[in-house]
Amino acid sequence: MPKKKGVPLIFERSVPGRRGYRLPKLDVPEVPVDELIPAEHLREKPAELPEVSEVEVMRHYTQLSRLNHGVDVGFYPLGSCTMKYNPRVNEDVAALPGLSTIHPYQPESSVQGALELMYNLGQHLAEISGLAAATLQPAAGAHGELTGLLVIKAYHKQRGEEHRTEIIIPDSAHGTNPASVAMVGYDVVEVPSDERGGVDVEALKRAVGPKTAGLMLTNPNTLGLFDENICDITAMVRQAGGLLYYDGANANAILGIVRPGDMGFDIVHYNLHKTFSTPHGGGGPGSGPIVVTEELAPFLPGPVVAKEGDRFFFTQPEKSIGRVQAFYGNFSVLVKAYAYILSHGSAGLREVSEVAVLNANYMMRRLQDVYYLPYDRACKHEFVLSGKWQKQYGVRTLDIAKRLLDYGVHAPTVYFPLNVEEALMIEPTETEPKSAIDEFIEAMRQIAQEAKEDPEQLKKAPQLTPVGRLDEAKAARRPVLRWQKTE
């Protein structure tokens, strides 16, 4: 019986002398290379790139793609990641030559359309967040966090309050929050969650103080719960002289419903690749614009786009922290996010959040009898279950996740947030048809049944996938991180 073969590495397909793409013949007189470049600069050994033909490249990556899940393939309820449908028309407009092949250093007069787009997107994000000014430069959510924290730092420095070195973060926070705090040289002060899943206000009270530079919060938080004490929380931090940073990765729950600015936040980052539906691309590119209050606007990294009359131009904010990457941001991601906003309009964006929340609550209610629900209250766009009831059968959340793969869906986020044992974090988004949601519920229920009746089956999962459960420990112990030519 032949087994399904794996796909070889592209290097393993290489045959000496084989060619893929060829350039046009050189059309200028050729000069010997060593007349142009001293020999000491020249490479001794060419890079061992694969030697393959075009058809092999096409087949190789077509075959590989067929081993991969995607939103286009099926349900992808990965909590905190907002795996919604990525409209293809947005790819089309982003690929228009007038938007995809413009050079960042062209004269401003020759890129007025691009500047207009950036300007308008910044304005729209400001409206959506209830804040004043945006920078579109950060390349992803974590990059936005870094940028926001640098703004906080610059703000305190300017006020002579450099003793403020602590950022308060709840224990349910996404891992990038503390990591970003460390990146800017601040200290993390962690506060626990209370029994309703929100920030423990008493603990927060103890945590704030003269060293408080700010608070980073996701709201709804990574449990999918809206913090009912949000007014008290933001007030408390502000009173202590701290700034309020809103991690907008969960903004899909609140578009047009409540604005971070109105909750008392000073800085928001949006994950355009989540909330605004630009594709995740297997891990990027993203875009993590931040929006800030009027007061903080002068600190934004530059250049940002301004407008005078009909003319758009780049400008450097007065007290700018500098820049967080070369050029202006992940422009083509911005184009797609802008297209998404224009496709929805105000009522549409609100409906996005309403349906995202409706879908999550429906799923939560239909699963809570078979999986432990740690916080039994209305959730927002996502919710967290626990696999702890299944532990009695020796089944772990990882087994449940792997088993789901056999059902043709992606698993939820697992073991996160850290403050829920055996967590399963489920986010359906608004673009799932009810049939997909119901099928997922059915699969989850069946797996709960299997956990009782045939736990071994789950431990063997997945079995219908291109490879079985992979040995991660081995990978980490003796890392093989690349193909290597065997002589």
Binding site: V31, L36, I37, V181, A326, L405
Partner: protein, 447 residues
């Protein structure tokens, strides 16, 4: 609405299942005084056909590189892009996947990243590479941070000839952690780092020293002396390399680099107004490899011994180590890295060398043609690759506006970077002799 499948009847069924009357009830935990009372003041929703028309109009307000012959570079380059790339990278399985957390149904993305790592390792001559970083500038900044973390030293040496925007990024990253930046000065005649300055540097103070090759001016730096000195003194040698140049120039590995970084836009990505691009990051030696920022994919097996790939060494990542992670990077530039993977695969060993070769030849040709005009000179004397700085008594910004009327854009005016009479010209394999000759004709008339 556009992309929401739910019908009213389904909504009703779901509300009943939840046990609420309306969706509004699900938002009752939000303090009511915060709730928005008015709709957001956004433009009205557009249908697909209207949307397309709107973006066509926006695009028409830009002059794009299909309508103009441009010699702009400075970190973003107009290279030929094999047509196969978009057909592959547009497949939904790549476009609409997340970071490959569930390895068993993500082998496509995982293996392609593994291949990317191998390709970058080959290009740079290093032992291992990560799955990408935002762009070249942030990759360099991360490298500098890593050098400090590894050595425990608090100062980094950057070259004065580094791309000015990269300098800004590196300084911001470093200074926010109270790490200091010093610059190796350059020889204003040659345009490359001043050998004399190397003698005076206190190398042992520095966590690392950086050389950009070719440098911002397109010139070739003597990297070996810097490499030797910093490494002898216990610091890391970091090279920021132009990806395309590696088809011709000594690799960081050959020059003894500890870390090689660079920007990968030129490897098959459109210029796209400067982003998204990708930064690559490669290093050698297991100690450094384990401290690399960003994601890494490793090879392993399943229970039946079949080869498979997984995200690995995640203890370096913020998911697990939180504030003790080596970096905060989470989403990276996966799809751009994938595009570069396809690019390098289809170009292949020989094709990739050809690109570098043609860049060299064509930029040399164009340089000669420019110098023939008279009144212009090379600002620097060091040998160059693909880019070079022309000096002349010209308002280069104004000149570009006039050239635009003829369908051309000249070099990047360096006034914004402090050289009012200079412009940085980039010539890639995408420029034809015909285009260059036509430019010369027009330019001669305008100058």
């Amino acid at each position: 609405m556009r992309y929401i499948p739910l019908t009213d009847q389904e909504k009703q069924e779901m509300l009943e299942e939840i046990g609420v009357e309306s969706v509004d009830e699900l938002f009752e935990d939000i303090p009511s005084r915060m709730l928005l009372k008015e709709p957001l003041p956004l433009p009205a929703a557009l249908s697909e056909a209207e949307l397309i028309r709107h973006f066509q109009e926006l695009a028409a307000k830009n002059v794009d590189l299909s309508q103009t012959v441009s010699f702009l570079g400075g970190g973003a380059y107009d290279h030929l892009i094999p047509s196969i790339i978009k057909h592959i990278a547009g497949r939904g399985e790549y476009l609409t996947a997340y970071t490959p957390y569930q390895a068993e149904i993500s082998q496509g993305v995982l293996q392609s990243i593994f291949e990317f790592q191998g390709l970058i390792a080959e290009l740079t001559g290093m032992e291992a590479a990560n799955a990408s970083i935002y762009d070249g500038a942030t990759a360099l900044a991360e490298a500098a941070l890593m050098a400090c973390a590894v050595t425990g030293r608090k100062k980094v040496l950057l070259p004065a000839t580094l791309h000015p925007e990269w300098k800004e990024v590196a300084e911001l990253y470093l200074k926010s952690q109270d790490l200091a930046v010093e610059y190796i000065p350059y020889d204003p005649r040659k345009g490359t780092l001043d050998p004399a300055a190397l003698e005076k540097t206190e190398w042992s103070q520095f966590a690392g020293a950086v050389v950009q090759q070719p440098n911002f001016f397109g010139l070739l730096e003597e990297a070996a002396p810097v490499s030797q000195r910093i490494r002898e003194q216990g610091g890391l040698f970091i090279m920021a390399v132009d990806a395309i140049s590696l088809g011709l120039l000594k690799s960081p590995g050959e020059l003894g680099a500890d870390i090689a970084v660079g920007d990968g836009q030129s490897l098959g990505n459109t210029v796209s107004f400067g982003g998204p691009s990708l930064g690559f990051f490669a290093t050698s030696g297991s100690k450094l490899i384990r401290r690399m920022p960003g994601r890494v994919v490793g090879e392993t097996v399943d229970k039946e011994g079949r080869r498979g790939f997984v995200l690995t060494l995640q203890t370096r990542e913020q998911h697990i180590r939180r504030e003790r992670a080596t970096s905060n990077i989470c989403s990276n530039q996966a799809l751009n890295a994938f595009i570069s993977t396809i690019y390098l695969s289809v170009l292949g060993k020989k094709g990739f060398q050809d690109v570098a070769f043609q860049n060299l030849q064509k930029s040399n040709y164009f340089q000669q043609r420019l110098l023939e005009i008279g009144g212009l000179s090379l600002k620097f004397s060091a040998p160059s690759f693909r880019e070079f700085v022309i000096r002349g008594d010209v308002d280069w910004e104004e000149m570009n506006l006039r050239l635009l009327e003829h369908g051309f854009i000249g070099g990047l005016p360096l006034k914004r970077f402090g050289f009012p009479q200079a412009a940085l010209f980039a010539v890639t394999e995408a420029r034809t002799k015909e285009e260059m000759d036509a430019f010369i004709n027009v330019f001669r008339g305008l100058i």
